[in-house]
Symmetry: C2
Subunit: 336 residues, 2 copies
DNA sequence: TTGAAAGCGATACCAT
DNA sequence: ATGGTATCGCTTTCAA
């Protein structure tokens, strides 16, 4: 298909070496031959074969990006920012969506390694076992974790302040006067889940609030599951007056359940989401939520990886980005 | 980093050829050596270098995917389906987001070609010039267009029935009794835009409805622009009783404007969206919209490309998928 | 059954 | 200023 350096060399009646010199702007060529060869290359629509180049350089200019499935929603704008950043930095994005049912994640590491990616950016989802990331690091791949926190991983990690996120949401409800607050939380197997819960508990403790056990739930990332879980909570003898929910998408499920129970938001039930996804201001009831600086985090993540790829030594530190509460219509004081 | 066939050959005390035969399960090896070599390879964590393999095969097993930016929303689930399908078929996804400000699209074709992708799946957005696709075809790249329609392109194209989509929405409003219907349509430079408009006009014609010029608008894909455009329409002397909107995301902008004008949906204004994006049933007012079988379209698209990649001759035909109206709360008869 | 050699396309280095 | 050659890691073909 594409023509090669050899083709050009033959057509120009010079050696391959000369062609290379002309094309790459190296010094040792006569201006005349250089121009002639360049014109010829353009005419023949020559495009250097990156594959071949990779082989000699030992560098593919490929970065593997492991993303979460679309139910996570925010994913796409993150991928977008990452792709743009990588492209700017001279890398192409090899995309893998993890937890996409098909194929084990063993094959994910496998794929990445076989394609000899220069680095990897991973946005951890619940479906990807942490071992995946450890394997990558052990294999010597340059890895940065975006919007997640993997225990004991020797790689830079970028994350939002989940402790603060939990705390902000809880404090907001407490200030509004709520005392019976239920949580649809993140499973505590993950560090993110534990941090979020720690923030919530801290706020409760400071306010001297005791929450019944049935009010602390862990829900998988699934709108329908959230709906069912919320229905159960609403059926509890002493119903909560507010819901602290792990994510805006989950809040949507919760809203459905509240509606189905013929209760109203925020009069009967206040809801706090998390993530401030695109459109949560246009939910049935505009959602009060916690905003993470997703774009900045993505940019910082790309910068970090690019530094590592350029040979710089980057400490495998965790960088925590600040979060903020966005108050909208889904929260109000409890009914008197 | 990774060890090579040579390393294994040396470690095993055999030739490279033997190692290859053992690893690839070719017949001509003694069972004993084969097992020994395989064990060794596993132990040394050998992973074949796809880059090198590509060079000899002249096949990279890379498929370029050109996607729209995240404002388009539905994008991510489409990318997800495409990635999964490609991975199943033995290909990796090289992702490019077009209209991502950075870099011209010339560099897009450039990137694709330099990386020697075996094929390309493109989801056309307004920001990508059609020339991009023609260049690709001319360069001999195997291309399939997903959810778009490019004029005179010698490549298979998969699209939803945009004529019907326009018609369904309009007919629905007409049946409800609306006669003053405004459109926030797709610019008619695109075939998709023209088809959609054709469907709408056809429904109007059949009902004998004459729509004032000011009621036909073309809006760029942008929530804020949609908001402004809607505000203008609402300020018109004889306000419409219904809005036919090019996309669910645009409907969100329209909803904002309606709210700002202190009008209610659907009592004062009915709204019909398009696309049935995830969550449009949980909009401020659950949105009546037209559903495209996005997942099936993506799957079909991948299948088509995989066929082409396997050497099959595929006709460059356009395949049109059926669409359906989803009636929710944003539409009702006009006020008497 | 096993080994050797050529080649994919580009590069770096040595030799002219 | 230009040409030749080995090399990257793997595959294919031919030879032993």
């Amino acid at each position: 298909m594409g023509c090669t350096v050899n083709d050009i060399a033959r057509a120009a009646g010079v050696s391959r070496s000369t062609v290379l010199r002309a094309l790459s702007g190296k010094p040792d060529v006569s201006g005349e031959t250089r121009d002639r060869i360049r014109a010829l290359a353009a005419e023949m629509r020559y495009r250097p074969n990156y594959i071949a180049r990779s082989l000699t350089h030992g560098k593919t200019n490929l970065v593997g990006v492991i993303a979460k499935p679309s139910i996570y929603y925010a994913s796409h704008s993150v991928i977008e920012a990452v792709e743009r950043g990588l492209r700017h930095g001279g890398y192409a994005t090899l995309l893998f969506i993890s937890g996409n049912e098909s194929g084990t994640d063993e094959s994910l590491v496998e794929q990445l390694m076989k394609n000899r990616v220069d680095g990897v950016i991973a946005v951890p989802g619940a479906m990807t076992p942490p071992a995946t990331y450890h394997e990558l690091v052990e294999a010597g791949v340059k890895l940065v974790i975006l919007d997640g926190l993997i225990d004991d991983l020797a790689a830079p990690q970028i994350t939002g302040d989940n402790y603060k996120a939990g705390r902000l949401g809880a404090e907001h409800l407490i200030q509004l006067g709520h005392r019976r607050i239920a949580c649809l939380g993140i499973p505590s197997i993950s560090t993110v889940g534990r941090e979020r819960a720690r923030g919530v508990r801290r706020a409760f403790d400071e306010a001297g609030i005791l929450v019944p056990d049935g009010f602390f739930r862990e829900v998988t990332f699934n709108e329908t599951a959230a709906e069912e879980c919320t229905a159960e909570i609403l059926a509890l003898p002493e119903r909560p007056t507010a819901l602290l929910v792990r994510h805006d998408v989950i809040a949507r499920g919760a809203m459905r359940a509240v509606e189905a129970a013929r209760l109203t938001i925020p009069e009967d039930i206040s809801i706090v989401g998390n993530g401030d996804i695109l459109g949560s201001d246009m939910f049935r009831v505009p959602l009060t939520t916690v905003r993470f600086p997703a774009r900045q985090m993505a940019d910082f993540c790309v910068d970090t990886l690019l530094k590592m790829l350029s040979g710089e030594d980057v400490e495998p530190e965790t960088t925590i980005f600040d979060v903020e509460l966005v108050v909208r219509a889904s929260t109000a004081p409890p009914r008197a």
